[in-house]
């Protein structure tokens, strides 16, 4: 006895066991599922939410460690930008009085680091006083009484390199506050409290709140809202569509239960395993829903077709599961492989996502083949009286499916030609893909955060901040004029990049203090002294004259061994940020820094660039791995490399077509699109498996190609078409989501279903006609 037969026997034993168990003990099946669902649902109470995008990198990732170390060392915090724009100018007494009071109230918000707020009333300004006096004092100690005083403050901001472009636009139309916060996961709440304050004082100007932390945290929060709304909404529509097809509520109840319980089990297991629900894993329900429903639709569809033949529940169930067991096992297994391949990606939330979706699919498979039969067994026969009868009639739907078969058999040359053209056109589109992401753009263009992002970045030097750290390796290294000159030149170079609004560092403080020390009139003194002692004394003057040491030590460590250059950017797109990083690299390559100086980046936008990089390369690898594994599985399933290759065509063409259209549309390849590749692969192989496996089963029975061809466009064809419609239409509501990734996911479901469905039902039969002698060698024509 060959190994294959041995396996087949085991396989049959499992199958028989499952069928027997669920048909003989339906109540027990339901009972076990109910109890376990209760156990997993209980775990959900311990759910913790993690919206920190830094967690896209492992905790021990060097880039991340350096970022935290930098924040710690320079006392930097994540911040929100709050801006007001008045077309006729924000620098008047009325507006500044409001800003003064707004700032005062913001300092009281829990989680705001009041000492480090950058606001006119809180930042220090360096200026000349009467009688040769150097003054370092708050820029706006009291709210101005007159517009002249307000204009004076604008002048002071424009004269201070550290404040210019940050606190105000040069023309004074915009005014901004930078609010540092204790941790990123407070930013959504704090933004809400700030909004309440600005609403209170907000006559005249329009107020905006922006910043990466608030975008990312708010996205996390809104995402959960969407999850709670979108998944049930899709569920409802899927339910209605299934009712339309099968017209029996009791028979379509199990798929809904399978979907919901597999989601509960998966999320419960995730929480149980101690993982917080990250932005990524909050997508699990929306991914699991359609996958969980797919198998059931095949079962019900087949049950529906067979019931009219056998008119006996248990017999129908046995035949249905018998015929569908293998394709369902393989479609589920390939989808599992698609998601498990994400484990090769070294982004922890992606791994968790992949692992648990795979778990959920396995659960959904198991439940589909047990719960559907169990429910059917419990149904009274009279409830099934008219079930399946409708297909006897020549409905539009079944005519349509048969029409596809006819089309393929008549126009197979045109179909094959079109497919080839599609592959060529797609290849070009693939090369046009632009990799880019910006968490702010996960919101729709008219979302307040997007509007704030656009407005503030248009008027000011930017709401995105990276830090370039110069490590001189020893105490006082930064005071060395050679290094200060180097930093100054690098600043000038970086500022040529159009997204760099400004840079600020210890160089600017040295120049400003020196200029003011010499009376504040001699422009030549606005420069770096070329004597290390003078640098040391100028910095000492800053510390002596009431300058807050904490302000200074945001740009240099207190031992003067490291400097922190703030690079403020008006655009948070990874592509744009990467261009700034590339500029710095180029400069450093062309102009080696003074010896022993180490230069490294920190900052949230930088971290985003890094994980995107890892993600994109990681996704490519995952996709390749799962592609190979799925091919091996197919060749094994069909015991034929040729069949294996053919089965890979729908998914290959689907992936190419979908990703090519992203290239053509110029839509950036971002995080959501990247993770959807595994879904695309996992789902678009399914129809091919059903189509081919069942063609072969039918052919074994009929031994006749024509008969096989016609029969495949009956039941199996209808099941595939039903799936296409149910899933594609089920996710249409997501097109109207507020969050771009949800729109993307909805669009993908629609595209995956329609493209892979069409390719399966048109290209595969065309190929079968052309290759029938090779594919069905023993066929009688």
């Amino acid at each position: 006895m060959g190994k294959y037969e041995e396996n087949l026997r085991k396989d049959l034993n499992v199958k028989e066991g499952l069928i027997n168990f669920s048909t003989k003990h339906p109540l027990m099946v339901i009972g076990i599922i109910v109890i376990l669902t209760g156990v997993f649902a209980f775990q959900l109470t311990g759910m913790q939410i993690d919206t920190d995008p830094e967690n896209m990198l492992p905790v021990d990732e060097p880039v991340r460690i350096f970022h935290s170390q930098t924040k710690e060392e320079f006392g930097m915090h994540d911040f929100l930008a709050v801006g007001v724009v008045r077309e006729n100018g924000a620098f008047n007494a009325d507006q500044l009085q409001r800003i003064y009071r707004i700032t005062e109230e913001i300092t009281e918000i829990e989680g705001v680091i009041a000492d480090d707020i950058m606001a006119p009333s809180l930042v220090d300004d360096i200026r000349q006083g009467g009688g040769n006096t150097l003054i370092i004092a708050p820029l706006m100690e009291e709210a101005p009484e007159t517009d002249e005083e307000a204009q004076y403050i604008l002048g002071r901001i424009n004269d201070n390199p550290v404040l210019k472009g940050k606190l105000a636009s040069e023309d004074g139309k915009a005014l901004a506050l930078f609010i540092p916060i204790e941790s990123k996961d407070m930013s959504h709440r704090i933004a809400g409290e700030i909004k309440a304050i600005t609403d209170k004082y907000g006559d005249g100007g329009e107020y905006f709140i922006a910043g990466l932390p608030v975008a990312q945290d708010s996205f996390g929060k809104e995402m959960f809202g969407q999850m709670v709304f979108s998944a049930p909404m899709a569920g409802l529509i899927i339910f209605l569509l299934m009712f339309m097809f099968f017209k029996n509520i009791r028979i379509i109840l199990p798929p809904m239960i399978v979907a919901i319980t597999s989601i509960i089990w998966t999320m419960g297991a995730l929480v149980w395993a101690g993982y917080p629900v990250h932005i990524m894993s909050s997508m699990i329900p929306i991914f699991l829903f359609p996958i969980a429903v797919l198998n059931s639709i095949h079962i019900i569809s087949e049950f529906h077709d067979k019931y009219k033949k056998y008119k006996h529940k248990e017999t129908t169930i046995r035949h249905t599961i018998n015929e569908l067991f293998k394709p369902m096992l393989f479609t589920s297994a390939t989808t599992v492989v698609g998601f498990l391949s994400l484990l090769t990606n070294n982004i922890p939330p992606v791994q968790v996502f992949g692992g648990f979706v795979a778990f959920g699919i396995a659960i959904a498979w198991l439940m589909s083949i047990t719960l559907n039969p169990a429910f059917a067994m419990l149904m009274p026969d009279k409830a099934l009286r008219n079930f399946g009868a409708s297909d006897d009639k020549d409905t539009f739907f079944s005519r349509f499916v048969k029409g596809l078969g006819n089309l393929a058999s008549k126009k197979y040359r045109i179909i094959l030609f079109s497919a080839t053209v599609m592959v060529i056109v797609s290849s070009i589109g693939l090369s046009m893909i632009i990799v880019n992401d910006n968490p702010v753009k996960w919101f729709k263009s008219d979302h307040p955060l997007r509007v704030a992002d656009r407005t503030l970045n248009q008027h000011l030097d930017g709401t995105y901040m990276n830090y370039l750290i110069f490590d001189g390796g020893e105490d006082d290294a930064i005071k060395n004029p050679e290094l200060l000159n180097y930093i100054e030149n690098l600043q000038k170079y970086l500022e040529k990049n159009e997204i760099v609004g400004s840079t600020a560092g210890i160089t600017d403080i040295v120049k400003k203090v020196r200029f003011e020390l010499f009376g504040g009139t001699d422009k030549e003194k606005y420069s770096i002294p070329q004597d290390v002692i003078e640098v040391g004394q100028i910095l000492f003057v800053y510390e002596m004259s009431g300058g807050d040491p904490d302000d200074l030590f945001k740009m240099v460590t207190d031992d003067y061994s490291k400097a922190n250059l703030w690079v403020q950017m008006t655009n948070g797109d990874n592509q744009a940020v990467a261009s700034v990083i590339a500029d710095a690299e180029q400069y450093i390559q062309d102009n080696p820094p003074p010896s022993n100086v180490d230069i490294n980046w920190a900052g949230l936008p930088y971290i985003n660039v890094i994980w995107q990089d890892k993600m994109v390369t990681g996704m490519g690898f995952s996709l390749l791995i799962s592609f190979i594994i799925v091919f091996i599985m197919m060749a094994f399933l069909f015991r034929s490399a040729l069949w294996g290759l053919i089965s890979m065509l729908p998914l290959t063409i689907t992936i190419m077509a979908i990703y090519a259209s992203i290239g053509y549309l110029g839509k950036p390849y971002d995080m959501p699109i990247a993770i959807l590749s595994s879904l695309t692969l996992g789902l678009s192989i399914d129809f091919a498996i059903h189509f081919i496996q069942r063609s072969r089963t039918i052919h074994e029975r009929t031994g006749n190609f024509r008969e096989t061809y016609n029969e495949i466009f009956e039941g199996p064809g209808r099941a595939i078409s039903r799936n296409v419609m149910v899933i594609a239409i089920g996710f249409v509501p997501m097109f109207f989501s507020n969050l771009v990734p949800y729109i993307t996911v909805g669009t993908f479901f629609f595209a995956i279903m329609t493209v892979s469905g069409a390719v399966t039902l048109l290209l595969l039969p065309s190929l079968m006609i052309v290759l029938k002698k090779k594919l069905f060698p023993d066929a009688k024509i």
């Binding site: 040769n132 003054i135 020390l517 290390v532 003057v541 002596m544």
Partner: protein, 266 residues
């Protein structure tokens, strides 16, 4: 019931009365403490080492010689500081004329550019040479700026009997909302201070670490200010102190900023 309310009233009256008497005593104690701490002798010459120790435990050292002359007892004072370390600020000098009723006058001489500059003194709470001590901590906060109450007369700090006094600023916006001072019963020197912000949170702690008798005057020769939030502290160590050396007032002029008085600064 009636009895109870009467006795309650008596308690309240006594408490009010006691508080009134104590408030006067408290202010008197604070004044005595201020005089003992900031006005010891008629003048003072000290060599000082200042250590700023950040949260990682890393030290920054400043070394300077400080001259002080009292113009009026409990009132005007003049200070002259000559820096030796860190080495890049060596020869930098700094002068303060303290005016209890108005803003101080401050001058700074920067030798690298040979320039004297006046510094604004609007903010007495700003850091003194980048340390955790503020200008006000160094030259003293006048006792009339706060209302004082004695919280306890039976405290001990480092085995020394002390009063505990609570001080609240009279001005609405100040650098703290409450200060607790432990005053040595014997010398009236402040042994410890705690500063609380408007949320009632402790944010600064002063401690007198070492007390010695010099020229017959009990002196705190080592003191520390800890910034609780920043987890940073500054210790000032007086390596040597001389009192009543007979300083002349003309030392405290711009001329001597550029040319330090050799007599006191070697």
């Amino acid at each position: 019931m009636k009895k109870f309310s009467i006795s309650l009233m008596i308690v309240a009256i006594v408490a009010m009365f006691a508080q009134g008497v104590w408030a006067g005593d408290a202010e008197d104690l604070m004044k005595k403490s201020h005089m003992a701490y900031y006005y010891a002798g008629d003048d003072g010459l000290s060599k000082v080492t200042m250590k700023i120790i950040n949260k990682k435990g890393k030290e920054r050292i400043r070394e300077f010689t400080m001259l002080r002359l009292d113009i009026t007892e409990g009132g005007e004072q003049k200070y002259y500081t000559y820096f030796k370390k860190p080495s890049d600020v060596s020869r930098l000098t700094f002068m303060v004329w303290k005016n209890p009723d108005a803003n101080d006058d401050r001058w700074l001489y920067v030798p690298a550019v040979d320039l004297i500059k006046r510094l604004s003194a609007d903010d007495k709470n700003s850091s003194f040479v980048g340390s955790d001590f503020s200008y006000e901590d160094v030259s003293g906060r006048h006792w009339t700026e706060d209302t004082h109450t004695i919280v306890s007369e039976n405290e001990t700090v480092n085995d020394r009997a002390a009063f505990l006094i609570s001080s609240k600023p009279k001005q609405e916006k100040d650098s703290f909302s409450e200060k607790k001072t432990w005053i040595d019963k014997e010398t009236f020197l402040p042994l410890k201070e705690e500063y609380y912000n408007d949320k009632g949170k402790l944010f600064r702690i002063f401690t007198a670490d070492k007390i010695e008798e010099i020229d017959g005057i009990i002196t705190i020769t080592q003191r520390t200010m800890e910034n609780v939030k920043k987890k940073q502290r500054t210790t000032i160590i007086f390596d040597s102190i001389e009192y009543n050396v007979g300083m002349k007032e003309n030392i405290f002029t711009e001329r001597y900023l550029k040319n330090p008085p050799r007599k006191y600064i070697k």
